[in-house]
């Protein structure tokens, strides 16, 4: 599909002029570039094409850039991501960095600065890539094992232990669990769960989320009718919580 020596960059930008201008410049600098015009295709391309770097706009139709970022960071902590956004005040930057972005550039930006930052991010990305065995084997920030209450989860083999015994988790269940663990104690709305956990845009029914929660409760709650870990918040969504000191 592409020259293996060329670095691959995914540009997520819905403004066609900007996207093409970025593509033009990056290609002139010897990179392989793909454009995604919305959040959904960004996630698709990220999975299929496995780029070395993602340039991400925040205001996107469908799933917004920050949700795309969080979605990716659930699975891959390593891939360098550069946010390119019209919103450049400190609050927005802090928000971006707290979700795990590597670099943040406000629009309008300086072309040379942008290209140099891209180059630097790719160089550093290559260093950390050397450490891991293969490109596809991406690593999440979460440890392989996770314990709460009497439950334990092994994210690599997708096996878990709960009150009802051994459970085999599906990929999607594991994903949702990671999302909950990464946001422990923070309420997550059904919409955000769909966007980040599934990569669905608005308009998809939120019943899907509820069904999954029912399943997770069946796996890990002693009494699924009275949940301790996966609690519902009225008119907000769900919150996952437990005391780490107590449970170990």
């Amino acid at each position: 599909m592409s020259n293996p020596t060329k670095s691959q960059i995914l540009v997520v930008e819905d403004e066609t002029h900007l996207a093409e201008g970025l593509k033009l410049n990056l290609e002139l600098n010897g990179y392989d570039v793909m454009i995604a015009a919305d959040g959904n295709s960004a996630l698709e391309n990220w999975k299929e094409w496995q780029p070395d770097l993602i340039v991400l706009d925040i205001m996107l139709p469908g799933i917004d850039g920050l949700s795309v970022l969080r979605n990716i960071r659930l699975e891959d902590e390593r891939i360098p991501i550069l946010i390119l956004s019209a919103r450049g005040d400190p609050n927005d930057r802090v928000k971006g960095f707290s979700y795990g972005v590597d670099d943040y550039l406000a629009k309008p930006f300086n072309l040379d600065e942008f290209l140099l930052r891209v180059e630097r991010l790719l160089t550093r990305g290559a260093w950390s890539q050397k450490g891991s065995d293969s490109k596809g084997n991406s690593i999440s920030s979460l440890p392989r094992f996770y314990k709460f209450g009497g439950n334990s989860i092994d994210f690599q083999t997708l096996k878990a232990h709960g009150p009802s015994g051994e459970i085999r988790l599906t990929e999607q269940e594991a994903r949702l669990l990671r999302l909950f663990i990464a946001n422990r104690g923070k309420p997550l709305s059904r919409r955000k769960l769909l966007e980040i956990g599934w990569g669905y845009a608005r308009g998809t029914t939120t019943r899907t989320v509820d069904n999954f929660i029912v399943r997770l409760r069946k796996y890990f709650e002693r009494n699924p009718k009275k949940p301790v870990y996966f609690k519902s918040l009225r008119s907000v969504g769900y919150v996952f919580g437990h005391d780490p000191d107590q449970d170990g």
């Binding site: 925040i58 917004d64 920050l66 930006f109």
Partner: protein, 328 residues
């Protein structure tokens, strides 16, 4: 602002200060009466004529106190109302800055990007022309956005000077669509006039065009259907003419029917950046409708089920003529 403590909430402060003032009024009166009766009994014991010392000021005092407290209450109320208004404006402005930042910065970013590219690289003439075309479009977009703010300012300050011309509205809409067909490529736009009549109305050409442009682009922009459709229907109804702009777009919840016409208002929250656009389009539309003595109405069957924006013009200003009569 949302992080402020609950006890700093303006409504709470407002209520507690009213309670405090009302309470102090009753206490003033209560104490006054008590002290007075106490004094009276002392005077009686001293065998003095109470009426001589205490001339009947009681009601006077209560009246003056009540008036003063009333003024204080009114003051609090006015301050409260103004405070609420300022807060609301502040929120709207914040929204506006967020959205307009995007609208203004995007074309500028694109322009700058291409200019820097041209400075940095030698491109072929073919490529150059292509990107120059982009730059022209970006400059147009920027102009368009700036003009929108200026138009709004003009209409709002009522200094808009445009000639009012009597036009057939059906033909006006058709003409507009013909002229701008290229913008709405790939969309299904139909104009229906079931009554077959022509509707003459005094309009300002430039303003009416802004109104149509906003309604047309909204129908297409906020649309996730494969083929965006827009149906424009002319319906004489009761004492007015309803021009319905019906689309198959994303629709809107009932709670937003009125709000969408507010200045700077955007459906979607600015914090998760799902809002896009300037929040001025429909506000401008409503102002133009009012300028033409009409009004705007929004309806929708719900999210994802399309929406209908109706321009309602009063019929008394409207000349109804048979189609044959107006064909010349």
């Amino acid at each position: 602002m949302s992080q402020s403590k609950w006890f700093l909430h303006p409504i709470l402060i407002f209520i507690s200060s009213i309670v405090a003032v009302a309470l102090s009024l009753t206490l003033y009166i209560y104490w006054y009466v008590e002290v007075r009766t106490g004094l009276k009994s002392v005077l009686e014991r001293a065998n003095l004529d109470p009426d001589q010392v205490l001339t009947s000021h009681t009601w006077m005092v209560i009246l003056v106190l009540s008036i003063l407290v009333g003024i204080i209450l009114m003051g609090i109320f006015i301050i409260f109302v103004y405070n609420q208004k300022t807060l609301q404006l502040f929120r709207l402005q914040h929204n506006f800055i967020n959205n307009f930042t995007h609208e203004l910065k995007t074309p500028v970013t694109s322009l700058k990007l291409y200019l820097e590219t041209f400075r940095k690289y030698e491109l072929t003439r073919e490529d150059q022309l292509r990107y120059i075309e982009y730059m022209v479009q970006d400059a147009d977009r920027l102009t368009h956005n700036i003009n929108r703010i200026l138009d709004l300012a003009k209409i709002e300050s009522k200094t808009y000077e445009g000639k009012l011309v009597r036009e057939d509205l059906v033909r006006e809409v058709e003409r507009f669509y013909e002229k701008n067909r290229h913008i709405f490529d790939g969309c299904e736009i139909h104009i229906h006039n079931p009554s077959g009549r022509s509707f003459l109305y005094r309009i300002s050409h430039s303003l009416f065009e802004i109104l149509l442009m906003n309604l047309f682009t909204n129908a297409i922009k906020y649309n996730e259907s494969e083929i965006p459709c827009l149906d424009i229907t002319f319906e004489p109804k009761g004492r007015g003419l309803h021009i319905r702009f019906e689309d198959n777009g994303i629709g809107l919840p009932q709670s937003e029917f009125r709000k969408v016409f507010k200045k700077f208002y955007q459906i979607g929250r600015s914090d998760d950046m799902s809002a896009k656009g300037t929040g001025l389009g429909l506000h401008l539309v409503e102002n133009i409708a009012r300028f033409h003595k009409g009004k705007m109405m929004a309806e929708s069957k719900g999210k994802g089920k399309g929406s209908v924006f109706s321009l309602i013009l009063p019929l008394k200003n409207l000349r109804l003529e048979r189609k044959e009569g107006s064909d010349e």
